[in-house]
Amino acid sequence: MSNVSTDIKKETLLAWKNGSSDAFEEIVNISMTRAYSVALSLVGNAEDAKDLSQEAFIAAYRAKKSFDEERPFFPWFYRILRNRCLNFIRSRSKRGEISMDVLIEKDSGVESPERAMVRKEDAEALWKALFTLSPEHREIIVLRNFQDLAYREISEVLGISQGTVMSRLFYARKALYDVLKDRLRVEGDDTR
């Protein structure tokens, strides 16, 4: 499980707070792929995700005084990034273009072209289905299922109770299931 609590060394965070741009570069290099992935899951488009994650790092740099170096970096940064992504989604007049080929199967290994095609279609169907959900529902599924955060960590990054995490996950999953149920039923029948 990825751990949001031990992502960056305390010395690096302290050096950044004391004005070291090298330390900030290190923080960016450690966090950028994760920041990009989270942004991509929220906004759906690769270029927008890259742009928003970079803007979030700039905002984080400016807000460094409000960062408590005793706390982990990513939950604090995540709130900045999330805020930017949600504002971006709300401000765009229509739904933006969603990048495809984002999800892949874990450990797909060697397989027939037909099977590979089905897996690709499954991944695309899931990705598209995620974007029929509200941003809050999509976000919680991404944090749990794709960022592998524990409830305690999700509660920390979103600033909500663990009870709300469970409840939000439940309604998000129900909504996602409703979108994918035909595909899931076929798949269930196939594996019997």
């Binding site: 970079q54 900045i80 709300r90 749990r144 794709f146 996602l176 595909r183």
Partner: protein, 144 residues
């Protein structure tokens, strides 16, 4: 009969957030509660489906220059702040000059008046947009 244990225990069960005792207790409940069992079958299938997928890491070329781009943005934003500060001082200076030469219409004062009128309209427009954005911001309470 409706049962809402899936909303809490069901999620903890699916996400491996239960102790062994809690798992045993909830599995007993599943055996007795049709509502939860059927819901668990559906959401379990979804969980298995999503569990097979992961977000692909971006290719190196896409993330190449990520830090440099952040650095460039810093520079540009700083440059804009400097330009705006300089422009503000220049406008202030011309305003003072205009008041000194009030009543004398010259090409310089005329041009400055038009320029200032444009800037004021632009400023009002930006402020109005910002206020509108702030009022409509559903996430304004999120701590940045």
């Amino acid at each position: 009969m409706s049962c809402n244990r899936m909303e809490s225990d069901g999620m903890r069960y699916l996400d491996h957030e239960m102790t062994a005792d809690e798992i045993a207790g909830f599995e007993k409940h599943l055996a007795e509660c049709d509502t939860c069992r059927l819901m668990m079958e559906d959401l379990g299938r979804l969980d298995a489906f999503t569990g097979r997928m992961k977000i692909k890491d971006p290719v190196d070329t896409f993330m190449e220059g990520y830090w440099k781009s952040i650095y460039r943005r810093f520079e540009r934003k700083t440059a804009w702040i400097v330009i705006l500060a300089g422009a503000s001082v220049a406008v202030l200076y011309f305003l003072i000059m205009m008041f000194r030469e009030i009543g004398k219409i010259t090409i310089g004062t005329g041009a400055m008046t038009v320029l200032l009128a444009g800037l004021i309209v632009l400023l009002i427009s930006v402020i109005r947009e910002r206020i509108h954005q702030k009022k409509a911001d559903r996430y304004k309470d999120i701590v940045r």
